[in-house]
């Protein structure tokens, strides 16, 4: 069977596929923007809807929701400091700082175009390089995941624009929270106090909603009386296209983050929540003015945004080629594929090539649509910053409660969210940023699992086991470099200053 590009393009632009894409993109942005309704849930909700659809259109719709929900999560992160998905928590830091300075329009623009480019780059990787890349993703074993988690933790130093000690305290708090739950190796319930819901650990999404969103509501309520300044937040900086100087300033960051996103995305044990932090960290490391980070640097928005959307295409690489989902959302997508009788692997690229390539090519267009839809929506969405706190605050609280309940239909998650809302508020009052807590909560269990599995697999010396694996060595070098480089740079700066 000869499959031509023309055939595929024709299919992509068929009525059903276009409608599917439109629903996917717009629905995804809305689902993503609401805290608690994550990309995974958006896809899960629509899997049954695809039953009766043309398989290509159905898969395309799910893929479009995935990537646009990740993008949508950033809108609320930027405008309200309430990340809609865990993958956009990193964006909240500089994105919200920009909003506070009245530059919401710029932040949204940067986020939209970075997301679009990140998604586009990843969709080309998916279309052109999926089989060889999936082989690389398999090379990551327990030792590599452990080291990757450590590398992720080295981000903490760059999150703490204030005190490093406070950042470390927050991170250790997160890591300690990460030890709660059933021990993977032995099945023993650790620190669960007999609470069944704690057996699978502290739920990440409710904790994140509490730490970022609910604490934001408290802070918002404090300043509710000083409403006046909100009027100043008018979006005078709205523009459809990015300026040349923005493109020039961001192109390296976006490219770098996109590659980071694709690589982390294709690893089954790591997803958008980790990639966005690494993207943020690398953006800061290579920035000419890292001191601006945390106070509204546009690279601080572009870095995580390009990375988390690049994850989506990356996560689909092992899914399509090997049936191994590269992220939690991709796992739900796998269910969607299977229901259409599409078993991932060689057959997808031979027997079902038309469906597969239509979905992949369509994914490229879906990413472009995100850019367009995002910018069209952005103009209106930014008005949220002008809504008075007395309306906004209760609305966010309602969304927080619904969102944390919807994750698992479990009231305990709502109490978790409320608890972390209080913790987050107190932390922010005393100068601790909640971001390292979330990071510790994500990376702690990943590091533990990887390390304990590699202890079992090492057969003898753990050190020689790690050193015998090339990717491990590379990661070790990266970790050492990322820890030492700030010290060296500082020395050099001092030497220069003295000279």
């Amino acid at each position: 069977m000869e499959l031509t590009l023309l055939q595929v393009i024709k299919h992509v632009f068929s009525f059903q596929c276009l409608i599917a894409m439109a629903i996917g993109v717009v629905g995804g942005i809305v689902v993503g923007a609401l805290p608690g309704l994550t990309a995974t849930m958006g896809v899960a909700l629509l899997v049954p809807v695809t039953f009766g659809m043309d398989p290509a259109a159905g898969i395309l719709m799910l893929m479009a929701i995935y990537t646009s929900a990740i993008y949508g999560g950033s809108m609320s992160a930027i405008l309200l400091h309430t990340p809609g998905t865990p993958a956009s928590a990193a964006t909240a830091i500089d994105g919200y700082a920009l909003t506070q300075q009245g530059q919401a329009g710029t932040a949204i623009r940067v986020s939209t175009y970075s997301s679009m480019v990140g998604g586009l780059i990843s969709s080309f990787f998916l279309l052109l390089l999926a089989p060889p890349l999936s082989m690389i993703s398999l090379k990551f074993g327990p030792p590599e995941y452990f080291l990757l988690a450590l590398f992720g933790l080295s981000v903490i130093s760059s999150l703490t624009s204030g005190s490093l000690v406070k950042g470390l305290i927050s991170a250790v708090f997160g890591l300690l929270l990460g030890t709660i739950g059933v021990d993977v190796n032995t099945g023993f319930p650790r620190f669960t106090f007999g609470i069944t819901s704690l057996e699978s650990g502290v739920s990440l999404v409710p904790a994140m909603i509490g730490l970022f969103s609910l604490s934001q509501v408290f802070i918002m309520s404090e300043t509710a009386r000083e409403e006046k300044h909100r009027e100043a937040n008018a979006i005078r900086d709205w523009r459809f296209f990015p300026s040349l100087s923005e493109i020039k300033a961001l192109k390296n960051t976006v490219l770098r983050s996109s590659i980071i996103g694709v690589i982390i995305g294709m690893l089954p044990g790591a997803g958008g929540d980790i990639a966005s932090w690494v993207g943020y960290n690398e953006a800061k490391r290579f920035s000419k003015h890292p001191e601006k980070f945390g106070h509204g640097a546009i690279e601080g928005v572009a870095g995580p945004e390009a990375a988390n959307n690049a994850v989506t295409g990356g996560a689909l690489i092992p899914l399509f080629t090997l049936g191994i989902p590269g992220s939690a959302t991709a796992a739900v997508l796998l269910g969607g594929l299977m229901i259409h009788g599409l078993i991932p692997g060689r057959e997808l690229f031979t027997k079902y090539a038309e469906i597969t390539y239509t979905a992949m090519v369509g994914f490229i267009f879906a990413n472009i649509f995100i850019g367009i839809a995002g910018m069209l929506l952005a103009r209106y969405v930014t008005y949220v910053t002008r809504v008075p706190a007395r309306v906004l605050a209760p609305s966010i609280v309602a969304l927080c409660v619904i969102g944390s309940f919807a994750i698992g239909n479990n009231m305990f998650d709502v109490w978790t969210m409320v608890f972390f809302g209080g913790v987050g508020y107190l932390m922010r009052k005393y100068g601790f940023h909640p971001a390292p807590v979330v990071l510790g909560l994500i990376l702690g269990p990943m590091a533990e699992l990887g390390f304990r599995q590699s202890l079992l697999l090492a057969k003898g010396s753990i050190v020689s086991y790690y050193l015998s694996r090339p990717i491990s060595v590379v990661l070790l070098v990266l970790i050492v470099a990322s820890l030492i480089s700030p010290v060296i740079l500082e020395r050099r700066m001092q030497a220069k200053a003295n000279a």
Binding site: V30, V31, A33, L34, G36, L37, M41, A44, L45, V47, P48, L138, F140, G141, P142, V182, D183, V184, N185, G187, F188, P189, G194, T196, L198, E199, S200, S203, P268, G269, L322, G323, I324, A331, V332, G335, G336, I339, I343, G345, R346, E347, Y380, Y383, V384, R386, V387, P388, V391, L399, I402, A406, G408, N409, N410, F412, L449, Q453, L456, L457
Partner: protein, 336 residues
């Protein structure tokens, strides 16, 4: 001013969407309160309102997909909506606890996953109050047998070679398991006990991770279920060495059973539907009959076949005995 009004409208709209999305799968849960006053529904009237089907794992997982493929036929037979509600957490126990303590009126039923659920209440470390008596089993739906597999280029061409090697070199070969208390875990314990072979068990967080570890060459032996390995086996990425069933699997006809090879180990992940204890027998029978008809529906059969999932209907005493036998087997193996 107009703009902020517009925005308010949008905000309210978003709230409504969130409520619908968040609670769309939940209406049945809230209803009993209102219905209570109208008095108990008798078995003849049952069901006269929507039924809630609890799935203790996330949407999109194996149990969830199977449940969603079954419910349309249940609805047809029962004449009432059957809503899947994913109540996640605690390795399934958040959902199972809710099921056990739900009102025993037949309007809350749920999937029970064997052996995970049995291990969950037997494990003394968990100090759980629930046990098999807390549930009224209705019928079994799926029986997915456990398999042994290796990567396509592994030196082990058949199961005898593998077991012999693991006997001579105890603990040298590593094998995956999808978690403490999973069917992979206990089947491996049973095999070790019956053959004297010894494996280094590596616990993971799910089958996707197991497959990655084996395909990447980090772990030697893959344990999984037929439904999970059919795809990669058809692709030629892995070689399935043995199935732990009584008879060969229809999806893997060339693969011998462990029993054929003289190792009497039968292992599977079984998914069935149960109600909380105390539901009247007539309602249980009615549900069992509906489930039977749904399972025997050719459309449902075909869908499940595509997923590589073997259907196995059991109800009444047969299902009870099956569950009790599994409980005993796990007690023996784990020493509880």
């Amino acid at each position: 001013m107009l703009r902020s009004r517009l925005f308010l409208a949008v905000l309210v709209g978003m709230l409504i969407i969130a409520v619908v999305a968040g609670c769309g799968s939940q209406p049945a849960a809230k209803e009993p309160a209102g219905q209570e006053k109208k008095g108990q529904t008798t078995a003849e009237e049952y069901p006269n309102r929507p039924i809630q089907l609890i799935v203790s794992y996330a949407a999109g997982g194996g149990t969830d997909v199977g449940a969603r493929l079954l419910t349309p036929y249940l609805e047809k037979k029962l004449g009432q909506p059957v809503t899947v509600v994913n109540i996640t957490g605690g390795g399934g126990w958040v959902g199972w606890t809710q099921l056990a303590h739900a009102k025993p009126d037949g309007y809350t039923i749920g999937y029970i996953n064997i052996p995970n659920m049995i291990i969950g209440y037997l494990d003394p470390a968990m100090k759980r109050k629930e046990n098999l008596e807390s549930f009224a089993p209705i019928a079994n739906h799926v029986l997915d047998y456990t398999v042994f597999a290796v990567r396509k280029d592994s030196r082990f061409k058949n199961i005898d070679e593998l077991i012999d090697y693991a006997k001579e070199h105890p603990g040298e070969l590593s094998a995956t398991s999808t978690g403490v208390g999973s069917d992979e875990h206990i089947s491996l314990l049973e095999i070790e006990r019956k053959t004297g072979a010894k494996f280094q068990m590596v616990q993971t967080k799910g089958f996707a991770e197991c497959l990655t570890q084996v395909l990447g060459g980090h772990v030697d032996v893959l344990l999984g279920n037929v439904g999970e390995v059919v795809g990669p086996a058809r692709n030629g990425d892995i070689r399935v060495l043995a199935v732990m069933s009584e008879e060969r699997s229809e999806y893997l006809p060339d693969v011998p059973t462990l029993k054929e090879k003289g190792i009497d180990v039968i292992s599977f992940a079984a998914r069935g539907i149960a109600a909380p204890a105390g539901v009247p027998q007539e309602i249980i029978d009615k549900l069992a009959e509906a489930i039977q008809e749904a399972i025997e529906n050719p459309e449902h059969k075909k869908k499940m076949e595509e997923l590589g999932l073997a259907l196995k209907y059991m109800h009444g005493e047969e299902y009870q005995n099956f569950l009790k036998a599994q409980e005993q087997r796990i007690r023996d193996l784990m020493g509880w």
